[in-house]
Each structure stands twice: as structure tokens, then as C-alpha cells.
């Protein structure tokens, strides 16, 4: 029943984001309109894929660091991506894909540094990954990258640099069939890695030691989950900038309904995250038309009250 409901909500969110938009396209012409085919449909799909990826990445990271505050962007990736994007503009790298690629490379560099820090902080058994150090390292690397970014923007002459921040908080305006294809080809691998780690992630909730006794290869699982979740986040930031709250709130929302078993939790987080972002983007495009709201504003405005409501029902019940 709850699965049917979730699938219906997800399909409705997708349909709504194709049917609704600031440009008036009459229903009979929907299938023949260039605006729908070239702009709305890829944007709806990209929103769904990015939202789903962030939901799954958030669920995986929260289990990994055993901290309910974990968000995919807490691990320094947004800072790294922002630095990459600003460097691309400052170095006058041109070409339609220069910014997304630079942001992706920046996110990967931050990922590598945080991962390295996480290993240093480990308990010494030859490269154990310490989740607490991952969190601290992520915040530190993110702040460091953001400081360099701000320094570049403050010192460089190019006026476009100020707009790099707009891009970073940009949302889904860059959606095209190219970016949808890229994400469709890219995300199945990290998603599959996370799904395959469902059982060990359940065990990890009992503590690393207990999980080890129960047969989980704890170190390998931690590494795989960290890398897969970060790679999902990196592609999300490359195609759509930093979209907050989806990766934080959606895993909690679905946990309230589906419990803590990751085999159900992760697919539900994908559908829920996708539905939330597709729906939020539809609102962002339509409520103040012809203007548009940054989609991160809408995800926060919807996500947080829904979360508070469910949390209340959940704690009372």
C-alpha cells in the first residue's frame, strides 16, 4: 500500500512537472510542443534523478557516519565544486560543459582529500575509515575551499565571477537531454553499490564492532558507501549545483514510514527524493512566473514543515 502510494506520488510529480510551467502550452499540444520536449521533459527527469540520487546518498551517509544530521553536502563536496567552477571562470575555460566538468573535478578533489583525512584519523588497523573524522574533515575541507573561492572572487577582475555563486546555487536550469543521458549512464553504478551494501548498513547501525561480529566486512563497506554516496553527490552538484535539504530530510521522511531496513529504505529514498525535487522544481518555475525561485528555497520550504509534521506524528504515536 505505502509502496503504491509512493509510486503514485512520484509519477504525479513527474507528470505535473511536464504539464505545468510558466509558458502556456495547451494540453492538446503538449506532445507536439518544443518547449515541453526540449525543456520541460528533460528538466523534470533531471530533477527526479538528482533528487533521487541525493536522497539515496543522504540515507547511505547517515547510516555510515551514524549521525542524523549528515547531508550529502556536509562532506566538503559543495566547497570543492564551487572552487572548481570559480577556477574555470577565472581561467576563462570556455565551452558549454566547462563549468559542470570543473565543478565535478573540484568535488572529486574534495572527496579525495576528505577520504584521505578520514583514513589518517582511523584507529590504526591499516587504513580504517573513521566516520567522525570524515564529518570533521568534510566541514574543514569545505570551509577551506570556500575561503579560497571567496578570495579568488574578491581579488580577480572578471565581473562574471560573482555569477559563479549563482551557478553553484543554480538549480535545474541547465537541464537538457545531454545532461539527462549523462546522469542516466552514470548513477546506476553508485546506486547499485549502495543497494548491495543494504544488509551491512543495517548491521552498522549496531556499532562497527557488533557489525563485524555479525559478519560484515566493516572497513570495505564504509569505504564503498562513502565513495558511492560522494560520487552520486558529485554528479548532482555538477549538473544542478547545490540543492539542499533533499539529502537531509528525505532519508528521515522515508525512515519514519519504512523503518531502518536499507533494502527498502534506499529505493524509497530514491523515489521520495525524486518526487520531492520534481515537485519543488515545478513550484519554483510556476508560483512567481514569469520569474523563477531558486529551487533550493522551495525544497527547504516544503521539506522542513513536512518533516516537522511527520516527526510530531511519529513521536506521538
Amino acid at each position: 500500500m505505502r509502496w503504491t502510494l509512493l509510486v503514485v506520488v512520484a509519477v504525479l510529480a513527474l507528470v505535473a512537472s511536464v504539464v505545468l510551467g510558466p509558458a502556456a502550452v495547451p494540453l492538446p499540444e503538449l506532445l507536439h510542443s518544443d518547449i515541453v520536449w526540449d525543456l520541460r521533459a528533460p528538466r523534470a527527469l533531471l530533477a527526479f534523478l538528482v533528487g533521487g540520487s541525493l536522497g539515496v546518498a543522504g540515507a547511505g551517509l547517515q547510516a555510515l557516519v551514524r549521525n542524523p544530521l549528515a547531508d550529502p553536502f556536509l562532506l566538503g563536496l559543495s566547497g570543492g565544486a564551487g572552487l572548481g567552477a570559480v577556477l574555470a571562470i577565472a581561467l576563462h575555460l570556455s565551452g558549454p560543459w566547462a563549468l559542470p566538468i570543473a565543478a565535478f573535478v573540484g568535488a572529486l578533489a574534495a572527496l579525495g582529500l576528505v577520504y584521505r583525512l578520514g583514513l589518517i584519523g582511523g584507529t590504526g588497523r591499516g587504513g580504517a575509515l573513521d566516520p567522525r573524522i570524515l564529518l570533521l574533515g568534510g566541514v574543514a575541507i569545505g570551509a577551506f575551499a570556500a575561503a579560497i573561492t571567496t578570495a579568488i572572487v574578491a581579488l580577480a577582475d572578471a565581473a562574471e565571477l560573482r555569477n559563479a555563486f549563482l551557478w553553484l546555487w543554480g538549480g535545474l536550469s541547465g537541464a537538457s537531454w545531454d545532461s539527462v543521458l549523462l546522469v542516466v549512464l552514470y548513477v546506476p553504478i553508485p546506486l547499485a553499490v549502495l543497494l548491495a551494501a543494504s544488509r551491512p548498513l543495517d548491521l552498522l547501525a549496531l556499532g562497527e564492532e557488533s557489525a563485524g561480529y555479525l559478519g560484515a566486512d566493516v572497513e570495505a563497506v564504509k569505504r564503498r558507501v562513502y565513495l558511492a554516496a560522494s560520487l552520486l553527490t558529485a554528479v548532482a552538484v555538477a549538473v544542478s549545483g547545490v540543492i539542499g535539504f533533499v539529502g537531509l530530510v528525505v532519508p528521515h521522511l522515508v525512515r519514519i514510514t519504512w523503518g531502518h531496513r536499507h533494502r527498502a529504505l534506499l529505493p524509497a529514498a530514491f523515489l521520495g527524493g525524486g518526487a520531492l525535487l520534481a515537485f519543488a522544481d515545478t513550484l519554483a518555475r510556476t508560483v512567481v512566473a514569469p520569474r523563477e525561485l531558486p529551487v533550493g528555497v522551495v525544497t527547504a520550504l516544503i521539506g522542513v514543515p513536512v518533516f516537522a509534521l511527520l516527526l510530531r506524528r511519529w513521536t506521538i504515536a
Binding site: A24, P96, A158, S173, G174, S176, P290, R291, P294
Partner: protein, 274 residues
């Protein structure tokens, strides 16, 4: 180097002996907005300008004036180091604080509004009155006033355009902006006239649906003939992008209201007539 040294010597030589109260028009002016620098040079007060922002690139003679860095907000110490007897600032939040700080150390300041075409005449008259070039300022101001008194183009016959200042997310120029006024004065209609803000984020599909004949982009001198987003697939849903109908207008001429606003209007009209 030699020229700079000579300049410094000349500047030093022109300094008033200290301790005497300031009488008459100011002799050492720091201009903290490119538009003010242009106006000061245009009304004949250019040789009194002893400091400018790093964005003040016109007229070429202004480049010989030492830069005090960013104008908004200004580096108060760098401004004071030029020993000005008048500092002209753009009237905006951070500049108000800077003006107070300068006044506190005994430097006279004036905050002037300059956001739209119709602000140009009053700003020019103010600068003329302050510098003692009121007559030349008045004739320039009268010309600049005439620019903003053009009838709006009719919505059926005129060429349509959209100013795109950033591509992802798409940021366009609305009715509240100087660029919108330039387009109107050049006989074109900004398709985003209904947006009252100076600039706003819109959806790409809104741009596609409003279907402007031209996409106008402010460009730096070193920029290629087409903006980077012209090659992006999602932008090709906009007909003007598909057809390559871009107006690449130089930012130093179009990006600010000033004595050359008439020239900007003339250039835009010529581009639209192609």
C-alpha cells in the same frame, strides 16, 4: 615609470600648502563610480580627478589617474591617501558608511544617485555645481535629459530583445533597469518589460515562449563573438539562439549610464537595423 614619476611630481606640486581652509571649488577629487569619472572628464574637471576605481576605464586619460581599488565599498584608507578635498560616491548602502568615515577625518563627500537614464541630468548638474563647471555641465545635462524623453516603442512594430546577463540560472534585465531604458530609446522592446525589478531569474521556457528576436549580451573586450551558452543544447530551444541572433554589446559602454549613453543608444539602434 618616468611618466608616473612625473605625474606624482606634478600632483605634489599642485598640492595646496596644508593648514589653509578649503575655499572655492575642490581641486583634488576622488571619483568612486565609473559614470562619475566619465562625467567629470566630460565637463572639463578631469584634471582635478586624483583617484578613481579600478573599473574607471573611460576616457583613456582617466587611466593615468591612480586607482584606489574597488569603488563599492571603497577602501577608505586608500581614498584618504590621495588627500582629496572631495570624494564622490554612488548612493548605496556600504558607501553611506564609507562617506561617514571620510567625513569624520575631515574629507568632504557627496553621495549621488545614478541608476537610470533620468538620473544622469541631475547627477551631471550636481557635479558641475560642485566643481565650478556649471555651464558646461548644464549643456551636457540638457542633452542627457533629452535621451530619457523618447516615446516608448509601439508593441506591434518594434524589434524585440532580451538582455541575458547570466545563463544558468537565466538572469534577465527587467523594466527597472538602465538597459531596459537603452533598449526603449533605441526603438526596441524588452520582452521582460513586465518584470519591474532591474534583473530577475526566469525559466528558460519563459524566454523561449516570449521568443525575442535578439538576445543581447554584455561582453568584455576579450570575449568571443558568441556567448558560451549559445552552444548549450537547452538554449537552442530559444529561436534567437538557434538563429544566432546575438547582440554582443561592449560592457564598458552599455553597462553604465554616463555621457556616452547617447552613443550606446546610437550603436544599439545600428545593431538592430542590420
Amino acid at each position: 615609470m618616468l611618466r608616473r614619476l612625473l605625474f606624482v611630481v606634478l600632483v605634489l606640486a599642485s598640492c595646496r600648502p596644508s593648514g589653509r581652509p578649503a575655499v572655492g571649488p575642490p581641486r583634488r577629487i576622488v571619483s568612486l563610480l565609473p559614470s562619475f569619472t566619465e562625467i567629470l572628464f566630460a565637463i572639463g574637471a578631469g584634471d582635478r580627478v586624483v583617484g578613481r576605481t579600478k573599473w574607471c576605464d573611460y576616457p583613456p586619460a582617466a587611466l593615468a589617474v591612480p586607482s584606489v581599488g574597488e569603488g563599492l565599498p571603497p577602501n577608505v584608507e586608500a581614498v584618504a591617501a590621495r588627500h582629496p578635498d572631495l570624494v564622490v560616491l554612488y548612493n548605496a548602502g556600504p558607501n553611506v558608511t564609507a562617506a561617514e568615515q571620510l567625513e569624520r577625518i575631515g574629507i568632504r563627500t557627496v553621495l549621488i544617485d545614478l541608476n537610470r537614464l533620468e538620473d544622469l541630468g541631475p547627477a551631471t548638474r550636481t557635479l558641475g555645481r560642485l566643481t565650478g563647471f556649471a555651464a558646461r555641465a548644464e549643456s551636457l545635462a540638457a542633452f542627457l535629459d533629452s535621451l530619457s524623453h523618447q516615446p516608448p516603442p509601439s508593441s506591434t512594430t518594434s524589434t524585440t530583445l532580451a538582455f541575458v546577463v547570466w545563463d544558468n540560472p537565466p538572469i534577465i534585465i527587467g523594466h527597472g533597469s538602465y538597459l531596459d531604458e537603452l533598449a526603449t530609446a533605441a526603438g526596441a522592446r524588452n520582452v521582460f518589460r513586465d518584470i519591474t525589478a532591474p534583473s530577475a531569474q526566469v525559466s528558460l521556457e519563459t524566454i523561449a515562449a516570449r521568443n525575442p528576436q535578439w538576445i543581447a549580451v554584455l561582453s568584455d573586450s576579450g570575449m568571443p563573438s558568441l556567448p558560451g551558452f549559445a552552444k548549450r543544447r537547452e538554449w537552442r530551444a530559444v529561436r534567437a539562439v538557434r538563429d544566432g541572433h546575438f547582440l554582443m554589446v561592449p560592457g564598458s559602454l552599455f553597462g553604465r549610464p554616463g555621457p556616452r549613453s547617447g552613443e550606446a543608444i546610437r550603436q544599439l539602434r545600428a545593431l538592430l537595423a542590420r
